[in-house]
């Protein structure tokens, strides 16, 4: 795992992607920091973090698009498959390397609140819990991007897909407010998600029977629940999505709360997608 980690990390800094990520982040953090904290004199660094969350829509595709798509294109994945180490170690090595590339600018940014204390009182707890939340959000999104990259051998496709995914996650809380709140509306929305889950299973397993099976089973379960507890479905889809929104979780970090459920949620989100990446790669041995 260490070998994969080191190779991956050095390849980020041999090329320009490591510097692009760090550069983007530092430039925008710098702009917002001077605007909010230095010019306007707000004592809260959280505003800066909140303002630069949109950066993940650029950074995550840049960081993750190559991870597995490129290995496949240049046929180095065969080396990885023939190594006497498990695929999950390969995936973790790559994932941790990407987290490190993300952590570099965040560590630099973490000095900003300290610098700001020279000019006045800064809410350090808010600033640092915000930074932790910000990093965890990135960790979750990178796992998602890595998974997307493992599905294709074209890094442009991988970048496009993970941009769309990140965008959807980013806009999730806004989108949920447009969802119909009625029980029937929730049922329809959840049905769409069931179909998406089926489609995703199909994409990963490349087996239409399993994909359709998953969709049918989930849909039956959903319909049974709908018939039995119809009243519980009022506003359910919106609530679920609200709960699942990664960016909403960041909100409580930015309000100075070290939200343990948020930490757990981000980490499980990341773990699920790391797991799915391993499965998608293992799957390729069998197809």
């Amino acid at each position: 795992m260490l070998a994969i980690y080191k190779r991956e990390l050095s390849s980020f800094y041999k090329g320009m992607f490591g510097y692009i990520v760090a550069g983007f982040m530092l430039i925008f953090a710098g702009i917002y920091c001077s605007a909010y904290n230095l010019s306007a004199g707000y004592p809260a660094f959280e505003y800066v973090l909140s303002a630069i969350t949109f950066l993940y829509m650029l950074i995550v595709p840049i960081l993750t698009m190559r991870s597995f798509a490129e290995e496949r294109r240049q046929h180095t994945d065969q080396l990885l498959y023939s190594l006497p180490i498990s695929m999950s170690k390969v995936v973790w090595g790559k994932y941790l390397a990407m987290l490190t590339v993300l952590a570099v600018p965040i560590v630099i940014i973490s000095f900003y609140p300290l610098i700001l204390t020279r000019f006045g009182t800064v809410n350090l707890i808010g600033a640092y819990s915000g930074l932790v939340g910000y990093f965890l959000l990135g960790a979750a999104l990178i796992a998602l991007g890595m998974f997307v990259s493992s599905l294709t051998e074209n890094q442009a496709v991988a970048a496009g897909l993970s941009f769309i995914c990140t965008l959807l996650v980013f806009m999730m809380s806004t989108l949920t407010s447009y969802l119909p709140a009625s029980a029937m509306g929730s049922y329809v929305t959840l049905t769409i998600f069931v179909l998406l889950a089926g489609l995703l299973t199909w994409l990963i397993t490349k087996n239409s029977t399993i994909g359709i099976g998953v969709a049918v089973i989930l849909e039956i379960a959903l319909s049974v629940c709908f018939v039995l507890w119809r009243s519980a479905f009022i506003g359910l889809a919106g609530t679920i999505l609200q709960q699942l929104s990664l960016f909403d979780r960041l909100g409580s970090f930015l309000n100075g709360m070290f939200d343990l459920t948020g930490v757990v949620y981000d980490l499980s989100f990341a773990a699920v997608f790391v797991f799915l990446t391993v499965q998608s790669l293992e799957k390729r041995r069998w197809s």
């Binding site: 994945d77 006497p84 390729r284």
Partner: protein
Amino acid sequence: MIEVSHLTKRYGDHTAVADLSFTVADGQIYGFLGPNGAGKSTTMNMITGCIAATEGQITIDGHDIFEDAAEAKKQIGYLPEIPPLYPDMTPREYLQFVAQAKQVARSDIDAQVAHAISVTQIADVQNRLIKHLSKGYKQRVGIAQALLGNPKIIILDEPTVGLDPLQIIEIRDLIRDLGKAHTVILSSHILSEIQAVCDNILIISKGKLVACDTTENLQELFAGNRTLSLTVKATAEEVHQILDGLEGVAELRCTPLENGLAEVQVVEQAEQDLAEPVFNAFADFRRPILRMNEVHANLEDVFIELIDENQRAAVPEEAVPAAPEAAQAEPEEEVQRDAGNL
């Protein structure tokens, strides 16, 4: 030792490899021969654990490639058809990375990398970026990578494809050297190559094993009898007069040439060596032999025959003209014998 039993790989409805069983003994060079699309790469990918078999079992020194993957894979060095190189690394960095990933002991890494570099003769380019290397050097780096971790078995998938003739000869010499310390399996669709380096040959066609034997046995099995080819200074009648009484001649063909020369083919009966009697017969009549050599039946004939049989068995109505490979193979290999310099 590799044991493959009832190996089958299906992609949907298409069967790439069908019920393949064979054993690879230690310390020899095996050639894996077959036309393009015969299932060579698929089989090699399964032996190295890169892809999973639909059915069947592969054990490397008793370790199952899936149940006990880590142990089994440590015994194997693999060069896939396209060398798995990272273009943004130098060969030295790359080899160090592979050695670490193969879990070579830290103290051993430098020695093994140095050894792999010297065996494959890439010391000159070890600090250049891989993307700037020629195809031949890339192939060598790929082979060097397979040597790391000191595996007992080295598997090379079409190691000479796309190289120029000089590079091909160099790589062949390298493979022969590797054969002294490792079991080597190499695949190719080029006959002369397999003939030149391998002790044993596995011929595969349409996913089925059609022959598995030593190189000499295969040649003998399908070659029929040996033939002497001569150019003599005599007329056709004289040739018949001289050779008709000779024992052990199965067939005699004579084509008169210009300047009173004749081209003679003497097919020997089994277990006969006619070189000396033929020489003496001509000497008795004071007719000079200008050239004499023995023509061994070529593996190419064996190959085409086997593949042809298999294809006819599979699709009887489709008379497929066998093996475009013939075009790439070297011309008939003629084994020069000491034929009495006249």
